[in-house]
Amino acid sequence: MSTHPRLDSKIPSGDVEKKWSNRKFENKLVNPANRRKHTVIIVGAGLAGGSASASLGEAGYRVKLFVYHDSPRRAHSIAAQGGINAAKNYQNDGDSIYRLFYDTIKGGDFRAREANVYRLAEVSVNIIDQCAAQGVPFAREYSGYLSNRSFGGSQLQRTFYARGQTGQQLLLGAYGSLMRQVEEKNVELFAFHEMLDVIVVDGKARGIVVRNLRTGEITTHTADVVILGTGGYGNVFYLSTNAKKSNCTAAWRAYKKGAFFGNPCFTQIHPTCVPVSGDYQSKLTLMSESLRNDGRVWVPKAKGDKRSPKDIPESERDYYLERIYPAFGNLVPRDVASRAAKAMCDKGQGVGETGLAVYLDFGDAVKRIGKDGVAKKYGNLFEMYEKITGDDPYEVPMRIYPAVHYTMGGLWVDYNLQSTIPGLFVIGEANFSDHGANRLGASALMQGLADGYFVVPYSIANYLGGEKLPPVSTDHDACKAALADVKGRVQKFLSIKGKQTADSFHRRLGKIMWDECGMARNRAGLTKAIADIQKLREEFWSDLFVPGTGEELNQELEKAGRVADFLELGELMCRDALEREESCGGHFREEYQTPEGEALRNDEKFTHVAAWEYQGDGKTPARHQEELKFDYIHLAQRSYK
């Protein structure tokens, strides 16, 4: 383990309140006439990539935007339900930028960079202004002013929302702004294009290799700077709340070209998801955390109680979150709520056919505010639940269980959101930066938009204003080499002609990951998982079957490429989890827990970011450390009691 010279976090000088202002002032600028001489490649059009494309287009750069969907409006941010945090203090309940900063650092179990998190809290207020101006239909009070609700890990109301479709509305806001830039020809949109490699010239990111998913054509595109807003890698578990196409390929290709990967093992398991019901299952569905504002979580006190929930009297129910964590009750952070649900089920108090579920009960809420009141707040979520399970949650409590939802880990970036490859910036869930070991609810949307609207435009100007970037044509040797690599890889998938489908490998990988690198991890399990994944990978490369050709829409070929990368990333996650000999946030090592079963950090040894450097196929990657300093918020054992 060593500190690596490339791991310079570039945190600005000054008090935490001044750092971002200082950085904005120090930054170099690019004058408007010169901006149009610079080409910026952006990959992904979720909240981060979409907002970055819109703002850089507005600024006057020549943006080339690549998305693998048929339209930028389908990026997975669209599925975010509950809300977006901002330190507006509209509810007069004691919120401030500093408190949002504090809650986020604490919520992340002291494994995030203070300076980044402070900036996130600082720009959060601008995000709400920006989105309201775009016509995002946020929930309003009768006064016409904006409404708020609560999310986990906070004792106040700072979450803005648009019913249970906040992500959709924020994304469509960004998409509208982005499509306006397409109309104005500042953004060139390449839909149905998947990025398959980064092109590095003289040590700097200068382009990408993409495959046109409709025609199969593989081409290179060059630029002065490349921005990845390609989301998280929760689908390494196969079953997750992520959309089916969400994958790690862009980030993984960048890692293999020299970008360090930060804290890969930090995964968020969301406590409230519809439980798994069978082996045909293709994905899991989240039930928004906002439901925990009014829903009460419980299990029967007796083990193996198979009575219908209606027949279990109050005195025989264990509202365990309210019992164990009276201060935060049902609104403890996600990692805490997930582990508590698992603990209850492990003790035999789980409900439903599999015993792997707990109840989320709206009985009291219906009594208090009526069915209409509940419907107004959560109507679409209740509908969604009923469609999947056939149960009516107004009548019967929801059955929920934790599921993989988000990855705090991602490509390592400095304060400017630049990776260890100069000219390669990483924004949104794809980077590792702001959430430490656990993300608070309603903070992903905040981070995506903060990065895209308010941070990366400044970083890009600073980078372009300070670098000499001779033009690179697609004839450059580095482009030709990357193109040949990608073409070779595609041909390899098609030529194996084995017997097993990409999905079948993916399911097996997912099972290994969930069993050994999921909600609870230990040395023996992780060691075994690494060996199992290596074996599975060998099998993949000798027995994969991809039908069809490379010169057409071929969804099996797309899957194969993604699964191949997951098979490598999964191993890195296990390695990272193995090396981090402590429990923090979503990373729970069974060997390290308090007598009450809470996560036990080891601040002396692990107050750092683990940044992994690729060393070549078949070689053990190098683990470097970026030390984290807490000058403002004192390291303390988290308590939500």
């Binding site: 509209y90 101006a133 309003r140 904006l146 057409e552 829409l553």
Partner: protein
């Protein structure tokens, strides 16, 4: 409740290799699928079977599988997303079918949505309609303090009702004229209900409708098939509003 009942389904699926291919229905039988599975999971099972036999799987678009991304798009027994009200194909579950049923699956059929392969169609026309005016022309940095512009709650709610559109294209697919009026009106209506949308109201309606016509979507004849097919419950009244907006825009110009 979850059940583990197995069922067998007979499928007639539209197969078309590419845009130039003529296309045809092909019969398949899917055996032993769990009744608790979703419709798309049933297609996953079919595809897994086809691949194992060395055949090409059925291409279909999908992503979030929870009814919000708008990717999935297929006619199921002649109905866009199937005949369950307010449900996308990905949210449709097999418990609504009977063991032994025959199910016909086709792509969206509209001149403005050319078929790419099997059930996958090109809906980029919708993107071009949005880029013609489906936004507020505000740059990042322009925005005033959010609470400085109050929005009456009923207006915010009406805007949200319209904004719930997922851009799937079911309205076009179900319409005998392949009209995109419901899609266009949803965006126009969202903005017309909000103070932020007022300055560009006339221009937005005019430009979006002009682009819609250019994309060769059909005219609206008010049959309401779009509303019935819409998985998000977008109301036909939005089309009435759009017509008023257009009339207003013409008077203004």
């Amino acid at each position: 409740m979850t059940t583990s009942k197995q069922m067998t389904l007979k499928l007639k699926v539209w197969r078309q290799k590419n845009a130039k291919d003529q296309g045809r229905f092909v019969d398949y039988t899917v055996e032993g699928v769990n009744q608790a599975a979703s419709f798309l999971e049933m297609l996953d099972v079919l595809n897994e079977q086809l691949i194992r036999k060395g055949e090409e799987p059925v291409a279909f678009d999908h992503d979030c599988r929870e009814g919000i991304c708008g990717s999935c798009a297929m006619m199921i027994n002649g109905c866009a997303h199937g005949d369950m009200p307010r449900t996308t194909a990905c949210q449709l579950h097999l418990r609504h079918f009977n063991d032994g049923d025959t199910i016909v699956i086709e792509p969206w059929r509209a001149r403005a949505f050319p078929i790419i392969k099997d059930l996958v169609v090109d809906r980029s026309a919708f993107d071009r309609i949005i880029s013609a005016g489906g936004y507020v022309s505000t740059n990042v940095g322009n925005a005033p303090e959010a609470n400085s512009i109050p929005v009456p709650q009923q207006d915010a709610e009406a805007a949200m009702d319209a904004a719930a559109c997922i851009g799937c294209g079911a309205c076009v697919a179900q319409c005998k004229n392949a009209s995109a009026m419901l899609f266009v009106s949803a965006k126009v209506s969202q903005m017309a209900h909000l103070p932020q949308g007022q300055p560009e109201r006339a221009r937005r309606a005019r430009n979006m409708v002009a682009q819609m016509d250019k994309e060769k979507f059909g005219a609206c004849s008010n049959t309401g098939a779009c509303e019935a097919a819409c998985p998000k419950g977008i109301k036909l009244t939005n089309i009435a509003l759009l017509n008023r907006e257009l009339a207003r825009a013409q008077v203004k110009s």
